[in-house]
Amino acid sequence: MAKQDIKRITALCRITCSLLLAVVVLTLSSCGRSKGNSGHSGTGGGAFDSTLVIAMLGDADYLNPVLGSTVTSGNIIGLIYPSLLQSEFDTETGLLNYMALEKKLRDVTAGQGKKTPKGAIARSWSMSPDHKTLTYILRSDAFWNDGKPVVSGDFKFSYQLYGNPVIASARQQYLAELVGADKGQVDFDKAIETPNDTTLVFRFYKPVPEHLALFHTSLTPLPAHQWKNVKPDEFRHSPLNLEPLGAGPYHLKSWKQQQEIVLEASRKSHLPKPGNIPVITFRVVPDYTVRLAQLQTGAVDVVENIKPEDFTALLKANKQIDVKTVGLRVYDYVGWSNIDQNEYRRSGQIKPHPLFGSARVRLALTQAIDREAIIDGYLKEYGVLCNTDVSPSLKWAYNDRIVAHSFDPAKASALLKAEGWQPGPDGILQKQGRKFSFVLYTNAGNARRNYASVIIQQNLRAIGIDCKLDVQESNVFFENLQQRKLDAWMAGWSIGLEIDPLDVWGSDLKKSRFNFTGYQNPRLDKLCELAKEKMEPTGARPYWLEYQEILHRDQPITFLYWMKETQGFSRRIEGEELNISGTFYNVDDWRLRPSANVAP
């Protein structure tokens, strides 16, 4: 082949490549210009100063309070719709406070009570002496965004939707104490009355503690005039779901599904006021690494649930980022099947599990696991040793006299020996020919649990227990748990702010769907019942103290650690107050610092 020709071909290719490159550069530079004009990624004011960008893992399912069930939906619904009461978590006592315009459930302790009650639709309320009737007096100056007044009828109408089995709202449990619910069907004519537009009466079939009554009757309303003609079987796919009509500080500007939800401050709202930040954009960014990168470059302002291992690099890379923590609501645990699940599934009989049936063995397992090492190695200062499922944040109920079981392999070995477990020829403990060997399951894609499970495996191996690890897809894992098919597993719970643990520990295994371990203790059932009967939560404190002592003694599971939730914020946000009830609890009060003031 002639050298000249080859050169010519190479030159041709070179020209083509250069041309392509030129086109790309031109395209990019013009994009860069248009980007600069928009201003979000620049610092030239405009959209940058007026738009807050929040990264979210997934899209909202519905922006309809009756149907919305994801965390994202809840956050956005809270900004769009009005609410009957305002609620606030008192970090001093660990109790929830409810506020109407002119009434508060509790006195606010010093340093608390930053939330204004001005957003509440209720002016005040009164609970009847028998705790069976709750009457709200509503304000008359609250309006939906279309100018129609918010009236008591809207609440009654919405509760009928919440209770409709065809609509299948995830919140129908809130109606469980209303008149008729004990007979299987809420009698709405008697249970909710609206004598006039500003009076709303709820009637219960049994005495209900005031704080629970307020909690259960303050579900978010829908505008009855907008929804009244929608049939229940069309409710879930009604086009109205895409045009939420609210009354809160923000309204929906646009919703590009699976991409972004844009909210705009409602200029006319006085529930409590138009949001300070003119535009809030919730952007769907499913990948964690990308969310982190975007926080670092300033493309987003808020990223939730940042992993502890990323803090140092994040804060080092960008001085304009602040990591804030809140908690403690979430804990991880190792579940031990207390009963022989195979036997229970086969014959319905309760027999102790051959490995984990004894409380002493479970205590030995807890003592054999170095929980502090997991915290030091992974969570660091964002983890707290967990003793029971009553969070240290719920100070009114927390038992601070409980001393954590310390890491003590020698004690654990002695306990196991006393239970008849002897080392076999291969070093693995044995009892009546059965080896102490099991599989510890956990769900896929959780780096923290993977880390913990490896340490647990090593710890248990050191005292002669053979623990194999297996990871299952989340859906499969959860189904196996529900069907009580697993002997040992690692999972976690996020607790509610009201203590109601019967679902998890109740002795009636058919009713207590989340009692995966099969633990049974009649005294625990009794304590939960006694606590529920108290009309004032603090009155139940002695019961909860005893409850924690029992759990600590019986070790139905090994409680590992509480985790602080860690959120990344851009420092250009001012006024954010993190609260255990949610990251965005006062987002309408947030402000964006003008870009000129942000240090480079």
């Binding site: 082949m1 979000h40 997934g58 399912d61 796919h237 599904q257 990308v290």
Partner: protein, 321 residues
């Protein structure tokens, strides 16, 4: 040829239908429950039951199948479980164009760069340039795409913030005007398309190089040179046309690969395309959406293969269909 195409399309109907039926049973037999989300403390146990009743999941599986079949034959693939009960084709209609855009851009980039690199490598066989291109192509070809995507983001969105890390458009892109909007969209597509096409292009370059080397040694190329034809004409008109024959078949068969590649690219770059729809549908056990997705991707694969066969016949007159 028309008869051939019609025959192939007719054969495709029972094939796709069989795939759908298999999918129907497999996903229902797989563990997991579409109503699992509603099974948690604080939610009444009735809710999961009501949701299952709404989805028609309480019937025995054969009855569910008959009902599903009756609907599908009327063109109704049902409503999505997980996406606010939208009709599944509405979900797909909003996702498919995004994936198609990525796939087409990737296809074009794949073949443009693949063929160019292949030709250079072949024409300058055994030079340093050829070795460099070969090693580079192999390097990218063996790189896991998801990892490569994350590296590209870290490099070009984080260390040197030239390109955006995610999303289809900038916040407030509507205000850029139509031209600005489209350019902004392309700007956002640079990284994902690069990731998807570098890997593919590297593979195609290897094919083209091999095929070119084979053709260049043929007698008719020597004859062409002996006639005194310019090297450009010899390479592009005589050699390349013949060398591209096996590459053409790649075009049809690479469609499914590009589609499956788009799956994780969309998750990483937060594009609301078919890939993400599929992944999320599988995780939430959204049966109607999974089946509709299988239908769409199955049809595309069948059509892609048919397209490749037809293209083959068009490019090589020796092949009769």
């Amino acid at each position: 040829m028309l008869t051939y195409i019609i025959k192939r399309l007719l054969i495709a109907v029972p094939l796709i239908f069989g795939v759908l039926t298999l999918t129907f049973f497999i996903i229902r037999l797989a563990p997991g429950d579409p109503a699992a989300f509603f099974i948690q403390p604080g939610i009444s146990p009735n809710v999961a039951e009501q949701i299952r009743a709404q989805y028609g999941l309480n019937d025995p599986i054969p009855i569910q199948y008959v009902k599903w079949l009756a609907n599908v034959l009327q063109g109704d693939f049902g409503r999505s479980f997980s996406r606010a009960q939208q009709p599944v084709f509405d979900v797909i209609a909003s996702a498919l164009p995004i994936t198609m855009t990525i796939a087409l851009l990737t296809l074009v980039a794949n073949f443009t760069f693949g063929i160019l690199i292949g030709i250079i490598s072949a024409v300058r066989q055994n030079t340093i340039l050829d070795r460099f291109l070969t090693v580079t192509a192999l390097f990218f070809y063996s790189m896991p795409e998801f990892w490569f995507a994350l590296m590209m983001i870290i490099l070009f969105a984080l260390k040197f913030p030239i390109f955006p890390a995610s999303g289809l458009n900038e916040i407030g892109a509507e205000s850029f005007g139509p031209v600005g909007f489209v350019l902004d969209r392309f700007w956002h597509l640079v990284l994902p398309v690069t990731v998807l096409s570098i890997n593919g292009a590297a593979g195609i370059a290897r094919y083209v190089r091999g095929s070119m080397l084979e053709v260049i040694r043929q007698d008719y190329i020597r004859t062409a040179r002996a006639k005194g034809l310019p090297e450009k004409v010899v390479i592009f008109r005589h050699a390349l046309r013949n060398a591209l024959l096996p590459v053409i078949t790649l075009m049809g068969s690479s469609l499914p690969f590009i589609f499956s590649g788009a799956l994780f690219i969309e998750v990483i770059f937060a594009f609301p395309g078919m890939g993400r729809v599929t992944v999320e549908a599988i995780f939430s056990r959204d049966y109607p959406l999974i089946i509709a997705n299988t239908f769409i991707s199955g049809s595309l694969i069948v059509l892609g293969n048919l397209f490749a066969d037809v293209l083959y016949a068009v490019a090589d007159p020796r092949i009769k269909l």
